[in-house]
Amino acid sequence: MNKVNKDNFTQEKYKYGFVTEIESEKIPKGLNEDVIKLISKKKNEPEWMLEWRLSAFKRLENMSVPKWAKAEIDEIDFQDLYYYSSPKDFKEKPKSLDEVDPKLLETYEKLGIPLKEQKVLAGVAVDAVFDSVSVATTFKEKLNEIGVIFCPISEAIQKHPELVKKYIGSVIPVTDHFYATLNSAVFSDGSFVYIPKGVKCPMELSTYFRINASETGQFERTLIIADEGSYVSYLEGCTAPMRDENQLHAANVELVALDDAEIKYSTVQNWYPGDENGKGGIYNFVTKRGLCKGKNSKISWTQIETGSAITWKYPSCILRGDNSTGEFYSVAITNNYQQADTGTKMIHLGKNTKSRIISKGISAGKSSNTYRGLVSFHKKAKNAKNFTQCDSLLVGSECKANTIPLTENSSNSSSIEHEATTSKISDEQLFYCMQRGLDAEEAQSLIVNGFCKEVLQKLPMEFAVEAQKLVSISLEGSVG
């Protein structure tokens, strides 16, 4: 069915695959102290930051690449990568959009992220990260008026060192694991958010990550702090050009919620997934962790993972504050030869802590999709509760789905509820919808969107429709 259109679909499928022709300035390939010193210098960092990076690098020398994930991966030569790339002559971040290279503005326009304030989505502030640097941040002043800090982390290191010093590495220890440590040594840019006491951030904050340069890794570092009684909703989006090589995006994202604070963090990950034969695509190795530090705090992760050749990602919550809540809502879609190994860790330390996990994995083509999760109740986590639901949907017969939910329980008053299902889109369902006038692609996307609606609804309204479309597009060409 729809044979005529199928080729068009595969070509149109990844519409963010273009390259911006812009001269870039790179630090020579390789991973060593000199490179790290240069990165730090380019970013005008204070001495303490460089020390911090170098100590991470020292630790890295004794660490090795993790082998636990259920993925087949080509070995990465860490000496054969660029760790820093920025548009040429990008000495300092432009003060206003008028100073931003028009080519960059055009790039973001093409990606559907207009940066000119008169055109931007009302109610959404954007930080635009291009390879290793943030090129623009919108609505900064407006947010400043109510005390909200939203800026590139490189800027925060200079302007708000006390906050950065206090919280960076406080959720993800420098020595956590290989990629987290690597990131700590070479991180380039990402966003910094601080919401002061009692402030409910009136806008959606979002960061848009774009990889453009070839043979370059992107090492995002994001830090969000919600002070007592505050609230923030943050969203990140990611795309990259289509290339035959595999490119690395290794991010560290740390969230800290103090007493009665709430952070809602959403991701729409649409890195280039590679072609139909599994050539190229981003390796998306990401460490995301939130600390519910204060009582009654709440951290909620929502992710729509449709891109990347390989995704390893386990956004987690450490529920330290009593009565704190962690949530994880995930849709992971894999098609062709994509591999996704994703899930969450909910670490219950405080009393009456609650967590909720809803994971929807959709695999098509020859892809493989694994949910890997850990729910852990420590001794003091009295009356802690978890609810986990993992659903897998298979499209076709050559894909794989796995569910690996682990639990550790040292608290005898806690409860874990776990549900898991695996289903297939049946030919009967497709035929039924087609009998009512939907073509094969429409029928499939109706059923798939139904399958993951519970999660899609958790996204900020401005992005929900877009995400729905993305879900359908990611599966195009997979109907038999």
């Binding site: 073509d439 094969a440 029928a443 139904g450 609606k453």
Partner: protein, 242 residues
């Protein structure tokens, strides 16, 4: 409007329909009766284009066009509607949004703009009332956990919403209680007109007493063994097939 000529159909390499011939004129109502396993649902599925129903030979024309070369959704957009004997569940998909989407698919093929949300709600209310369908059923998932009778009513509702020109009902009456059967039959009768043709597959005289057929065909072993008027249905009701 529908001509079936010497149709031979196999399913899983088993021949089910054998040299089937059937002609349905515009505005006519044809009933198909016949013992279990005689091929009634098979002809319905074949006409709707279900995959794995292999047409070995024969011809089917709908309004002068070859039907068998078309995709199932094209057949639907061309006016063919099949009310399923066993309607399919679509978990996660709310009935209201599903109904709206299929209505819009048909509008799109007629080059019309998508239906306005308010207007759709109005029509949905109207048509649901006719069938005695409570509105809260539309916020549930398509057919999921619906009772047997509710599923059948939901089929008739879709039939009404899509305005088809050829309606095939596969045992739509089975599973409906006496009152529901009457409501549903009334709703179906409202759809009868000079342009629209019906194929009604049923085991029971009762439905045919409400919806009077112009012809009754008896199926056996994959072909029509007898054709008559509505009195044939009464005879079968009394004497059975043997």
């Amino acid at each position: 409007m529908l001509e079936i000529k010497n149709l031979n159909v196999t399913v899983e390499e088993k021949q089910i329909l054998k040299n089937l011939n059937l002609n349905i004129g515009k505005g006519e109502v044809h009933a198909i009766m016949g013992p279990n396993g005689s091929g009634k649902s098979t002809i319905a599925h074949t006409l709707a284009g279900k995959p794995n129903y292999n047409v070995e030979s024969g011809e089917v024309n709908l309004n002068g066009e070859d039907l068998l070369s078309k995709d199932p959704y094209e057949r639907s957009l061309n006016g063919l509607f099949l009310a399923f004997q066993y309607p399919i569940e679509l978990p996660g998909v709310t009935n209201a949004s599903y109904l709206k989407q299929i209505v819009n698919a048909h509008r799109k093929s007629r080059k019309e703009t998508p239906i306005d949300a308010g207007e759709f709600l109005k029509i949905l209310k109207e048509k649901s009332k006719l069938l005695d369908i409570p509105m809260d059923m539309h916020s549930r998932f398509v057919n999921t956990g619906f009772s047997g009778g509710e599923k059948k009513k939901n089929e008739v509702l879709q039939m009404d919403l899509l305005d088809p020109s050829l309606i095939i009902m596969d045992e739509t009456d089975s599973g409906l209680d006496v009152d529901a059967l009457k409501t549903t039959a009334d709703a179906i009768n409202k759809l009868r007109n000079d342009e629209r043709s019906f194929i009604i597959i049923t085991h029971y005289l009762r439905l045919l007493e409400y919806i009077e057929p112009d012809y009754v065909h008896v199926f056996q072993n994959g072909s029509v063994i007898e054709t008559g008027d509505k009195t044939l249905a009464s005879r079968i009701d009394q004497e059975g097939y043997s």
